[in-house]
Subunit: 110 residues, 2 copies
Amino acid sequence: MSQAAQNYDVFQAIADPTRREVLRLLSQKEMPISKITAHFPMTRTAIAKHLHVLSEAKLVYGRKEGREKIYQLNPEPLEEVQHWLSYYEKFWNNKLSMLKYLVEKEEKKE
Amino acid sequence: MSQAAQNYDVFQAIADPTRREVLRLLSQKEMPISKITAHFPMTRTAIAKHLHVLSEAKLVYGRKEGREKIYQLNPEPLEEVQHWLSYYEKFWNNKLSMLKYLVEKEEKKE
DNA sequence: AAAATATAACACCTTTTGGTTTCACTTATA
DNA sequence: TATAAGTGAAACCAAAAGGTGTTATATTTT
C-alpha cells in the first residue's frame, strides 16, 4: 500500500479479503468511509487505504458531499477478470461437455 | 512469498501477472519447471516459488517423472472466482439487459 | 563410479502490504 | 465563534512478497 501507490490492477485489488468485503458492502448501498469502517475491526485510515487501492483500480468512485465522502461501487473493471476467466472456463466446462456428449451418444444407440 | 507460505487462496494466487502467465503456459501443455522458467526473465528458484503458491491454491499439480517434476494446470479452483464474479455480473449486465429491454419495447410499438 | 541434469531447500536482501498513531484541514452545528 | 464531526495525509512499523545465490539431493547417462 504505502504512499506513492500507483497503477493497481483489478486482480490485485480483489486479492485482499477486506477489499472484497468492501465491494460487497458498496454493492448494496453507497456509503461514506466511516460507515464502511464500522463493519471492520480496523481503523478508518486502513479502510481509507483499501479504498484508495480500489479507487486506483476504478472499482469504486468517491464523491464529496458536505464533509462526507461517499463511495460507490463501479463493477465494470471486473469484466476484465471475467474475460480472463472465460479462457479457462472451457477447461472445466469441457469435462461436462464431454460427459454430456458421451451420454447422448450412448442414448442414441438405442 | 518467503518460506512457510501456507494457505494461499486462489484470489491471491492469480493476483500476480507472472503466475497468470504460468497458468496460461500450462493451459497449453504440461511441462517441467525448467521449461516454464525459459519463458521468464527470472531464475528457476523464483518460478519454483510461484509454482508453490499456485500449488497451495490447487491451481497446478506436479508429478515427479524421473528427475523432472512435471507441472500441469488444474483450473477447478477458478470456479470460486467465477462464482464470486457472478454476483457482480448482474450489475453490469443489468445495463445491457435494461437497454435490450427498452429497445425491444420500442420495436414492439410498430 | 563419475559426471551431468533437474530440482529442492536454505539463507539472505529489498520492496510492498497492511496496519498503526498523530496531526492538520474542512464543514456543520450548538 | 467555538466545537464537534469527517476526512486526508504523513511518519512509522512488522511482516509478507518477490527476488537472488549457494548448497544439497536425487536421478540419469557415460
